[in-house]
């Protein structure tokens, strides 16, 4: 019954949106193009597709909204998480004058490569997923903004939090991509500063399947915590293989494993108690959050939004707001975005600093509880009902 109901609702909404799209030209609204770039094929495609769907959702909802001055159109490009392809598609978007702004990149190496391109062609973009600090702090391009926080914020909070939990000894596994290496770098720094001890660091390739050798050595080191800097696929393998080798240490991940896929992949039982950290407010709790999840479900996307979907959604909305305000003009839009201060978005208040980096007010801590990523504060771990391993 309930199911039928939702189906009914969904069809109606789809119809409404469809109508919105159909009728858009008849209202003779001007069409404004927005670019989206992310990895749609290959290893990290799940996040890329999630991001695309979320951005797409933002656009659809906006078009369905009669108050919007323009009809928006999302131009999606696949960067395959490869810098040279990234530069190509970036050039494509940036050179296309009809595109006003872009929601760009999950992979940091790609973002590093394309930033100069966007700057050169004056296309304002908002990075929705790449966490490498250098993207905004490494070079100073007026066009390049970032709505998600950097791995610095994340690692800082993570290190402090874990020390508070009373852990002393860490073993670190990270993949050798920019994502993993970066996290390793910053997390280690903060951990040392806070007096944590690192027993061993293991860099592994991003397509590695077997970690038993690394984990065997770790088992000998007897750490309290195994910190993993990397994305879901490896996270799943490492967590499951920890179990195989009977390693009881606490598993601590990064934003990279904050996905339903992680819990599915590892299985509820094993995933229980895994930690991860994600920049931005706990959007699930914000008013927009429920709407977002609801709408997302209604659109019947074949892939979940994943951890960074909300950021893409927020980025797209920031851009469209700017366009609504000053019209489809790259320079004006850029200036508006530069000035963004305390704007409410799905991921909390967004404020760009002088380097157009969103100063993330807080990093949300997540723990897996009963097969869901629960926000630490209202998990039964915080209340002490349950305990992380080794506590």
């Amino acid at each position: 019954m309930v199911k039928a109901n939702t189906v009914l609702k969904s069809t109606m909404l789809c119809a409404a949106i469809g109508l919105g799209l159909m009728s858009a030209p008849s209202f003779s609204k001007e069409v404004v193009k927005i670019g989206f770039v992310g990895p749609l094929t290959g290893g990290t495609s799940s996040i890329g597709l999630g991001g695309r769907n979320s951005a797409d959702l933002a656009v659809r909802l906006r078009n369905a909204d009669p108050k919007s001055k323009y009809t928006y159109q999302l131009v999606t490009q696949d960067d395959e998480c490869r810098p040279n392809v990234g530069v190509q598609v970036a050039t494509k978007l940036a050179a296309d004058k009809s595109i006003i702004a872009g929601v760009t990149h999950f992979c940091s190496a790609v973002a590093m490569g394309t930033a100069p391109v966007f700057a050169r062609f004056g296309l304002p973009v908002i990075v929705w997923g790449a966490v490498l600090p250098e993207i905004t702090y490494g070079n100073d391009f007026k066009e390049v903004h970032r709505v998600n926080g950097t791995m610095i914020n994340q690692s800082e909070v993570a290190a402090k939090f874990m020390m508070q939990q009373g852990y002393k000894k860490w073993a670190i596994i990270h993949d050798t991509t920019d994502y993993g290496k970066g996290h390793n770098k910053y997390f280690s720094e903060f951990l040392k500063k806070d007096g944590g001890q690192i027993l061993g660091t293991f860099g592994v390739t991003a397509d590695q399947q077997d970690f038993t050798t690394e984990l065997t050595k770790i088992r000998e080191l007897k750490p309290d915590v195994i910190y993993f800097g990397g994305l879901t696929p490896l996270g799943v393998r490492i967590r499951t293989q920890m179990e195989k080798l009977g390693i009881k240490a606490q598993f601590e991940g990064t934003s990279g494993i904050k996905s339903d896929a992680y819990i599915q992949g590892v299985g509820e039982k094993l995933a229980e108690g895994s930690l991860s950290f994600l920049e931005g407010a706990p959007w699930e709790k914000l008013p927009g959050g429920l709407a977002f999840t609801g709408q997302y479900r209604l659109q019947k996307y074949s892939e979940p939004p994943e951890a960074y979907g909300p950021f893409a959604y927020a980025a797209a909305n920031l851009i469209m707001d700017a366009v609504e305000k000053v019209g489809p003009d790259r320079k004006k839009v850029r200036d508006v975005l530069n000035q963004t201060k305390n704007v409410d978005t799905l991921v909390g208040k967004v404020t760009f600093d002088e380097r157009r980096q969103n100063i993330v007010p807080l990093v949300t801590k997540y723990v897996v509880e009963d097969g869901k990523w629960a926000i630490w504060e209202d998990s039964s771990y915080a209340t002490g009902k349950r305990k992380l391993s080794g506590q």
Binding site: D78, V87, A94, A109, T176, D178
Partner: protein, 387 residues
């Protein structure tokens, strides 16, 4: 010789018409964005080739080209120039054109290794990458003029390649394939793992620059501001053309002949005194030189390089261009490169299904044209027309 005179006139016309047609087609193709346009153009191309076969137009063109090689080359270059002019301000298309030219150059290296002397190289991307990285390092840390850097990049690629010479000389076929595959993976993992060369985050590559003229600044011509990529396309064209001429000269010389004999029958070759090792080494080294040079310019054009650009699958990309084009035939490389590099771009509208479709397409080509799009012609040292 009367055949020559009788051929001469039509030849010129045929070539002229062909050049025009191809150029126009390319113009349309590079422009095409919508699914409809792309699909339509592909169909047109298919029909054209099939019809061309049936009506013997193809042979006609080939003969014409064979009888007037100089003219054919001039037309080809003019065609590219025309396209460059037509797209003088559309950066993306120019970038793609540059890419095609440079990849073709690299693949000429592979065709020299694999198509002539039979040394399979599954690490093409590695040598391409060595080129780009060398260029990046030299340009940032030394004051050498970029032209020198390009040359050096090629040399470094060739020299590093010599690490493999011993195993490559001793192994054959699939065994040689493994050696190069191993090297390719080794190279990628290596530059990714150690931070000396920027690690996974990659490196910025400084702009190409000749006599103080910065390519990345672009220029204005007759009041039109021309895309800075034009300079790169022109440079790539020059390099590609040089590589082509060199390769052709090599093919139509005792060197090419010796390499072919070594490839086809090492036993017979040795009983007629051929230095088998020598020819294989020369082919392998020259090939890597080509790849390195192409890589260095590519790096400058794209402006940024990272290990992810030089994975095993990128080596496969190069190899598929080489094989699809028709082993040993440098001309075939251009259409092959178009299919392998630009078609996936044109497929962006099918987004995540791109790679799937592309792979299927390659299989289809291999099934229906096992010798590639333009199979290599039997060698004529000097074209009949000129003889």
């Amino acid at each position: 010789m009367n055949s020559k005179t009788s051929l001469k006139k039509p030849a010129t016309i045929v070539l002229f018409v062909t050049a025009i047609v191809i150029t126009i087609y390319m113009w349309l193709f590079l422009h095409a964005e919508s699914q409809l346009a792309v699909a339509g153009l592909i169909v047109v191309a298919l029909i054209a080739t099939i019809a061309g076969k049936k009506l013997g137009t193809m042979q006609h063109i080939e003969q014409a080209a064979a009888s007037r090689p100089g003219l054919a080359r001039i037309w080809a270059i003019l065609g590219v120039l025309a396209l460059t002019a037509a797209f003088y301000d559309s950066h993306f298309i120019l970038l793609m054109m540059g890419g095609v030219l440079l990849y073709s150059t690299a693949c000429m290296g592979l065709t020299l290794q694999f198509g002539f002397s039979g040394v399979a190289n599954f690490a093409g991307a590695a040598f391409f990458g060595i080129g780009s990285y060398t260029a990046a390092v030299l340009a940032t840390h030394t004051g050498l003029p970029q032209l020198v850097n390009i040359a050096l990049s090629g040399l470094v690629a060739a020299i590093l390649g010599s690490v493999l010479i011993l195993p490559v000389l001793r192994t054959r076929g699939h065994y040689a394939a493994l050696v190069t595959i191993a090297f390719g993976i080794l190279f990628k993992t290596f530059i990714e793992v150690n931070d000396v060369l920027g690690g996974p985050q990659g490196l910025q590559v400084p702009s190409m620059e000749i006599f103080g003229y910065q390519f990345n600044e672009g220029f204005t011509l007759f009041g039109l501001d021309v895309s800075f990529y034009v300079s790169y396309v022109l440079l790539s064209l020059v390099i590609c053309a040089c590589a082509f001429v060199l390769l052709r000269a090599l093919e139509r010389s005792w060197v090419g002949l010796s390499m072919d004999v070594v490839r086809t029958d090492e036993t017979a070759a040795s009983t007629f005194g051929l230095h088998i090792k020598r020819w294989k080494v020369i082919a392998f080294t020259m090939g890597n030189l080509f790849a390195g040079i192409a890589g260095s310019v590519y790096g400058m054009m794209v402006g940024f390089i990272a290990p992810n650009n030089f994975t095993f699958s990128d080596s496969l990309l190069l190899l598929s261009i080489t094989i699809l084009g028709g082993l040993g035939n440098p001309i075939g490389l251009i259409p092959a490169a178009l299919i392998v590099l630009i078609l996936p771009e044109k497929f962006q509208f099918i987004q995540e299904y791109r790679v799937l479709l592309y792979a299927a397409l390659v299989i289809a080509i291999l099934l229906f044209r096992p010798d590639g799009l333009l199979p290599r012609k039997t060698r004529l040292f000097f074209s009949k027309g000129a003889a």
